[in-house]
Amino acid sequence: MFLGWLALTAALAVQSVLAETHVYNWTTGWGVQNVDGGKDRPVITCNGQWPWPDVRVKKGDRIELYLNNGFDDRNTTLHFHGMFQKNSSQMDGPPMVSQCPIGPGDTFLYNFTVDGNVGTYWYHSHTKGQYQDGMRGAFVIEDDDFPYDYDEDVVLQLGEWYHDVADVLNKDFMSVYNPTGAEPIPQNLIMNNTRNMTWEVEPDTTYLLRIVNTGGFVSQYLWIEDHEMTVVEVDGVYTEKNTTDMLYITTAQRYAVLIHTKNGTSKNFAIMQKFDDTMLDLVPSDLQLNTTNYMVYNKDVALPEQNYVDELDILDDFYLVPHDKVEAYGDPDYQIVVNVTMDNLRSGINYAFFNNLTYTEPKVPTLLTALSAGDDAVNAEVYGSNTHAYVLEKDEIIEIVLNNQDTGTHPFHLHGHVFQAMVRDQAYDDALGEVPHPYLEDDHPAFPEYPMMRDTLYVRPQSNFVVRFKADNPGVWFFHCHIEWHLTQGLAIVLIEDPLSIQASHGQQLTDNHKNVCKNVGIPTKGNAAGNSQDYMNLAGENVQEKFIPTGFTAKGIVAMTFSCLAAILGLITIAFYGLMDIKNVEEKVVHDLDLDITELVGQDDSASEIRDVTK
């Protein structure tokens, strides 16, 4: 017994001794890069370099990342995608959710420990469109207890690339002239920040390939000619081995796969990426849907041709089983049902909605409201009527039912957790006349025994999914579509998890650095969504979305219609009156109208003067 205790203490001591602190000092800025071989364009750099470095740490390590905002005209933030941020919710990243945005010239210290996470992650700016301008990188947490064997660990960062910066694209995207909310079409797919990448491999070697889609829009199909991939991890969750020929990866999703290379080196192979072109509003004729990259065994042998497949036979991640075999959570204590729609508001701009609410930033970051609201923090109202906030109680089982009434595929991401995927329905194709299909509690497929767990899950067109998680991580967590365009359109809700525990935790209190950052951008550190720190229930002056477009006639329409009808009636009366009026000298008028030469027509007219008017 004593020995056991001793051994445990020793083990803990060893671990804490081994845990490292990694200090990063990053400054944002602008540079110019030709990423896809197509066009020089501005990119966001890290300390003047691009691409941004990959982060590789061990489980339990501490990160101290100083992010200096080197821009002179915009705020920034950094989000560590998939980190649980246990007891450090303010380090999560999304501006006005968990922190104040970092103003130009300011510095924010992201200081957290990665003890709950292992595997493949990434980091990116959570500020409007910045990661599509290149502000992102892979974040790998190595684990000494990795359950499978491999020889080498390689990161494969997928993405799409635009030839314009997000500023330009956003201006056209959120515009009255983009009434359907058509997302900008990327120019190319990229891999490891280049096009037609070459990966040199050794024969007869097992690689652990960590695949991250760091794009902001399209899902990608990925396959390697003549090589199978064995999935062993999704979004930081180890899975039972599952072998497939092809992966389908939405933005922000990660897959770690084992690939065993061939013995011979006589041939090189194609690594294929393909757009999920169903997500594109239209496919430009010059867009290459397939991009070929190279798995090179032998540099002296010719590079492979593009590889074609007969069908897109992808792995359905829903059926993956976590390695730990976590049993499905029971019936939920709290259910959130959200319906996804897209519509235009009064300005004619297209927005995205959960239950007719498009996420609108509060005046005080939600976490700061939770920390300052005292007992009112458990009341969702203080977080504002337009932030779409839900307050979750400690250790509740939460179920999110998402009904997609839109015809697109959307990858949804929950901060601070991995969730269990209980149901993911098939697609309902509106081209075939099918209508959106909501989740029905009394008519759904059986829940899996050991549901797949991850942090980003896609929903199919006009379909639904159900996820469950346990509210055991006090903090403020964003749940949103990870298509950056849709987040800009407001497709997000905010979950305030166990706010009283956040207040009670020493580690969750605002750092002095954070308070300074708020001060420098003029955002209060206390108060409700409207910035009112006296009366938290008074939301006067909060930010709200534009009004919906009225259906039918408004006052000015009725006025216009009335005037038009009146004008038409008066006009018709005038015509009728004129038409029925008696006319004198008809022939004379007609000859006149026809421009005839009278003398030519009838010759002289000196006689017959006594003839009377015939039209009398």
Binding site: A560, I575, K589, V590, S607, V614
Partner: protein
């Protein structure tokens, strides 16, 4: 696309209907001339010439229909190639052209007595022209004289018919979502209805009910025309919006985003003439759109305002002989062509007018039905004038108001 616009184009119907009423007037004027000059002299010649008139009318009509059909068929088969993505722009331009055409022609044809008088003068002139002009060219002159009663209605109907074809094409093309298949039925129905109504009213009841019908159908044409003007503006607005959005927003449905909300005065998420059954008729007749843009609504109101002013001026001039406040100015003098041609005519006196018709009466048809040389008698005695007067009175429409 609504089913209605695929088989029955309403504007086309009204244009054909309207043109048929006029055709009835033309034919009746011709026949009455014929009856006057030869009817009493020789029944056989009269019958033969009357047959010629009918054959001429039928031939002219047939050729018009053939040309019209070919033209419209060609237009629709080439439509996409010609206009492509700028279709809205072209539709807007066509709308504007059609508006101008209908507006100008509509007033001129508004009154049956004026219409009849117009044709009387026109035909009289044509009849008198033939023998004189063809004096030297014997061969052709012979043929034209022989078949004058065929050729005159033939060319008249052909010319007027081609005008109608342009009208029909204009009215049809500017109907939203129209297709070539939407023409035959309204053309046929319009022909039958127009002729039937024309004959019934012209010969059957009284001239005044013919007048009412003319006014009513002209009113409908003006409603169409005002709608076209408004639609023209609407198409321009739509074209600008579609160009800015890079797609065809109006085809994405009735809902939000199918129109430029910043320029809209009203919008209803239904009743889209391009998509919903039945509303295309309101579109064709009244220019209805489920989105009212500021420009299209303004255009509609301005159209009626201008029309009322113009008609008001015409009424004033008709009563007083000049425009208000300008003793020596008439509407005709406001037209640039009036000064361009520089033919400020003397007024046609009653006498001159009588002379004209008197000459027509004296047209000679020989036993073959050939039109002979007219004995131009400019110095007729008072007896003859009395004669002609009574005949003319039978001929001239008297408004029974």
């Amino acid at each position: 696309m609504a089913k209605g616009s695929k088989v029955f184009n309403v504007s086309v119907f009204f244009v054909v209907f309207r043109e048929c009423l006029e055709a009835v007037v033309i034919v009746s004027v011709l026949l009455s001339f014929l009856k006057q000059s030869v009817g009493q002299q020789d029944v056989n010649i009269y019958k033969r010439l009357r047959k010629q008139v009918w054959i001429g009318v039928a031939a002219g009509l047939f050729i018009c229909l053939a040309i019209g059909g070919g033209f419209i068929g060609a237009y629709y088969s080439l439509q996409n190639d010609i206009f492509g993505s700028a279709e809205d722009l072209w539709e807007g331009i066509f709308c504007m052209i059609a508006t101008v055409m209908i507006s100008i022609m509509g007033i001129a044809m508004l009154r049956v007595n004026k219409l009849q008088a117009k044709w009387r003068v026109k035909i009289a002139r044509a009849l008198l022209d033939i023998p004189e002009r063809k004096r030297d060219r014997f061969k052709i002159g012979h043929l034209t004289r022989r078949y004058a009663m065929f050729l005159l209605p033939f060319f008249t109907v052909l010319r007027e018919g081609l005008e109608a074809v342009v009208f029909v094409a204009g009215a049809g093309i500017t109907t939203q979502g129209s297709s070539a298949s939407a023409y035959p039925l309204p053309v046929v129905v319009g022909l039958i209805a127009g002729t039937a109504v024309g004959v019934l009213l012209y010969y059957g009841t009284s001239k005044s009910s013919m007048q009412v019908f003319l006014v009513a159908s002209t009113c409908i044409l003006y409603l169409i025309s005002a709608g076209l003007f408004s639609r023209g503006a609407w198409y321009f607005e739509n074209y600008r919006y579609n160009k800015a959005t890079g797609g065809d927003a109006s085809e994405s449905g009735d809902g939000n985003g199918s129109y430029n909300i910043r320029k809209a005065v009203y919008h209803v998420n239904c009743c889209n003439p391009e998509l919903d059954n039945g509303w295309d008729i309101f579109n064709a007749l009244l220019g209805w759109q489920n989105t009212g843009y500021l420009s299209s609504m303004l255009c509609y109101n301005i159209y009626w305002l201008v029309l009322m002013i113009v008609v008001g001026l015409m009424m004033f001039e008709e009563k007083k002989g000049h425009l208000p406040f300008c003793k020596h100015l008439t509407l005709r003098q406001l037209s640039p062509t009036y000064w361009l041609k520089n033919k400020k005519k003397d007024e046609l006196t009653q006498t001159q007018k009588d002379e004209l018709f008197k000459k027509v009466e004296k047209l000679n048809f020989n036993e073959d039905g050939e039109l002979g040389q007219t004995a131009i008698d400019t110095h007729c005695d008072s007896n003859a004038s009395e004669n002609s007067k009574s005949k003319l009175e039978a001929n001239v429409v008297t408004m029974s108001k």
